[in-house]
């Protein structure tokens, strides 16, 4: 366990045509209140835009939100776009209206964790913290 010295940087993005950003903004604020630096991209972004932004901003973790049912296509696409840009080490977390049977598929496609409606904010923040720590440890080993 390394000591956390500087704030974790995370990106919260909304891929696809879904404009419901209440959840994304709620998580962004909750993370801010836990001392995270949160880059918010706004709604209706492509997977490529989100990945390019994450690389430029050198974030520790990417968090995605989707409520429109397109998560099976869009979430793994962000993972792939990150890989293409040399960011395979950046964990991607996802949340939204996601059926139980899709969760394993997404985890299999390289998502780090998936949250469904009703998940307590504290659980989500813990996952973000762990993923950030994992990313920093990975950096330290390089």
């Amino acid at each position: 366990m390394t000591v956390k010295k500087t704030p974790y940087r995370v990106l919260i993005g909304k891929p696809g045509l879904d404009g419901h950003d209440r959840g994304a903004k709620f998580i962004a604020r909750a993370l801010r209140d836990e001392g995270f630096e949160v880059i918010y991209t706004g709604i209706r972004r492509t997977a490529a835009e989100i990945a390019a932004t994450a690389i430029q901003e050198d974030v520790d973790v990417v968090g995605l939100s989707s409520l429109s049912g397109a998560h099976l296509r869009l979430f793994p696409e962000v993972v792939n776009e990150l890989k293409k840009r040399g960011g395979a080490d950046i964990p991607v977390l996802g949340g939204g209206v996601i059926p139980e049977e899709d969760i394993q598929l997404l985890l299999g496609d390289g998502l780090n964790a998936i949250f469904t409606p009703g998940t307590p904010a504290s659980t989500i923040i813990r996952s973000f913290t762990e993923a950030c720590q994992q990313h920093r440890n990975h950096d330290a080993q390089q």
Partner: protein, 323 residues
Amino acid sequence: MTPNSKTLLAGLKNHDPRAIGRAISAVENNGDVAADLLAALDQDLINKVLVLGITGPPGAGKSTLTSSLITTLRRQNKRVGIIAVDPSSPISGGAILGDRIRMMDHALDSDVVVRSMATRGRLGGLCASAGAAVRIMAAAGCETIIIETVGVGQSEMDIIRLADITLMVLAPGFGDDIQAMKAGLLEVADFLVVNKSDLPGAEALCMDMEHIFSSKQEENGIARVLQTVASEDKGINELLAGVDTFAHYLETSGIKEKRRGKALDAETLDWIIEMLRPCFVQAMKDDPCNKDPRIRAKKLINTILASQDSFNNNFKKRHREYK
């Protein structure tokens, strides 16, 4: 030099986005490679770059103007860097960095390098590492760098030091705030941009501002008060033309060099104080008392300087953080 810093420096030369992001993080977090990197940046590129500061009250349109400037600069085939600063929470230390929302049109353009930075407790509208971030972007081939400050009030004037040219953005309808600013930022800004100039009150605001800027305008005949509607890209060409003329004037008159020299001195002083801070914080803890702070400060400095050995040891121990 570590292999890691060599890789990053090579990445900067090749305009690799990942390397640019990592390099800025390294200086922002005082990482191991920060000193290596900063010592090896291409000084010629740093001298050549034009740094524009964009400042103004919240809601005047700084981010929108920045995005519009990017569009126009890209049409001129210039590689652009943007540093967007937003405030950190004084309570949690966290931050929401939301300036990118208005710049996402440029997300896939590899010649637009954007970095959002949080103030991390620093007042004055900037963050401590903004200067280093400017130099890294310059070394990574950016020709114009735009720094967007946090929304400012009267005295957040750090940007004046870091930017070659400072644009103050205002919009009609801010009323008394503008009166209040007359003695602060307005005096030191190079250009005044009246944004949202399609709104009522823009003409009156322009007249007020031209009055304030009249002496500057007489200095070299360059119009210093300009109108824009950033959301529609209106007035941006004229603004950039004015900025270019002024940049040429600064360069040929030697003012740019002088401004940069002063800025580096000021930044150095900031770092001296920053690096000494932990040592003095410790000294205060070791010797608690309720004397008048000014008297106590003097006494602490004297005690520390007198016991040089303990100062050196203490300082060296704490200084490692900034290697």
